[in-house]
């Protein structure tokens, strides 16, 4: 059987969502298609944690189905090779991980919800990272809470065959942490649209799910993503969600919701937050806002 050669392209931080679509499109048929795949990274000189999360999800999904996925290491620059190793992605492709993490926040993969393990990941990997400035107790708490909310969401809502994945990067010069959490379940946009909401635009469907009290779950719910969004607002960070063919972005209080010219077969939530030692971040009550 032949190997299908797929080109992996650059994915830069804070670029428009067209870059993500260009990254996703070559992968599109092979999330569920069983032929053997070899990734060609000759066109990839920079990769964000979002790209790393997509690649991790791609290979884990295919592994789950028993499909083979490789990297053509001859096409990989030394920088990208080192970065993949720091994210601990290399071992997914049969290579050795890099001995030092640097500013990478390595892959974390759960097939069942384990809140204590999520907390441990934050304490031992994210907070203990090289060059990571000290976090205030409030920021530690908000970070724990936000990531746990995201993981709970995956296991409550997504029905993801490969569970949940987290991966990230710390940017010391701008004191910013980027963490991506993703699953390959139904997809947030599709799930909302099945309720008859925002049928014409997947981006608007994502936006609906972020409002206080909005949930596709039967009964009480609908605060996890709202809490996350409020944290990002107060922190002046960023939130970026890909789900199905929907895209939502929030930087501080500015929102964008639109269709994505590609499909991500699940939900990828990226939070970027600032680590500053002199700030308190917390969700606000109505009376605080007045």
């Amino acid at each position: 059987m032949n190997w299908n050669r797929l080109g992996v392209v650059d994915l830069h931080l804070d670029r428009d969502v067209g870059g993500t679509a260009r990254f996703l499109n070559p992968l599109a048929p092979y999330w569920v298609e069983g032929s053997r795949v070899i990734l060609d990274l000759s066109g990839c000189t920079f990769l964000t944690a979002e790209g790393a999360a997509i690649l991790a999800a791609f290979v884990l999904q295919r592994q789950e189905r028993g499909y083979q996925t490789r990297i053509d290491w001859d096409t990989v620059t030394s920088d990208i090779r080192r970065q993949l190793g720091r994210w601990e992605l290399s071992r997914l492709f049969g290579a050795t991980n890099h001995p030092w993490k640097g500013n990478a926040i390595p892959l974390f993969h759960q097939k069942q919800l384990d809140g204590a393990a999520v907390e441990q990941y934050i304490c031992s990997v994210i907070r203990a990272g090289r060059n990571m400035p000290p976090m205030t107790p409030e920021l530690v708490k908000e970070t724990n809470q936000s990531l746990c909310e995201l993981f709970v969401n995956i296991f409550e809502h997504a029905s993801s065959p490969c569970g949940g994945i987290a991966i990230g990067q710390f940017y010391p010069k701008i004191k910013r942490v980027q963490i991506c959490v993703c699953d390959l379940g139904v997809g947030l946009a599709k799930k909302v649209q099945r309720s008859g909401i925002a049928l014409s635009c997947c981006g608007s469907a994502i936006q609906w799910a972020l409002e206080e009290g909005h949930s596709t779950k039967s009964g009480l719910g609908g605060l996890g993503l709202y809490v996350l969004r409020e944290f990002v607002k107060v922190n002046e960070g960023s939130l970026r969600i890909l789900a199905n063919t929907g895209y939502y972005s929030q930087t501080g209080a500015n929102e964008t919701a639109q269709s994505l010219q590609a499909c991500f077969p699940g939900t990828l939530i990226q939070i970027g937050f600032l680590v500053r030692s002199d700030e308190v971040y917390t969700i606000q009550r109505d009376e605080d806002r007045k």
Partner: protein, 118 residues
């Protein structure tokens, strides 16, 4: 009024994240509420708390008791300011959900059911 304490950390541990653990707390609270005048939910020692856990921890109470009764019968303690605000948010959301008219609740549930079945 003598209120019975529930030490959450002893019941479900210091990481209160999983809705299934929230359900355990809810059932324990409901059992004690059926026998006595009130409860103090003590979160001392809890490190991480999420809305998903709290939703599950209060849903079966709001299902059975009125908002006024629960306001009088439940005390929350051992929370720092971050968790206190999260609790207030969850309680406000629960009150809004359970105070909706039967028609409004039916509409919410119908939309949710379609989403789940789909």
């Amino acid at each position: 009024m003598i209120m019975t304490p529930i030490h959450v950390v002893e019941l479900v541990g210091p990481v209160c994240v999983d809705p299934e653990d929230g359900l355990v707390l809810c059932q324990q609270t409901r059992t004690i509420l059926a026998q006595g005048p009130g409860i103090v939910l003590d979160f001392s020692g809890v490190r991480t708390l999420t809305s998903s856990f709290l939703n599950a921890a209060v849903a079966c109470l709001f299902d059975k008791y009125s908002v006024d009764f629960l306001t009088q019968s439940l005390r929350w303690t051992g929370l720092d300011s971050t968790d206190e605000k999260l609790v207030q948010l969850v309680l406000k959301n629960a009150a809004r959900f359970y105070q909706a008219t039967p028609d409004q609740q039916a509409a919410i549930m119908a939309a949710s059911s379609r989403a789940i079945e789909g």
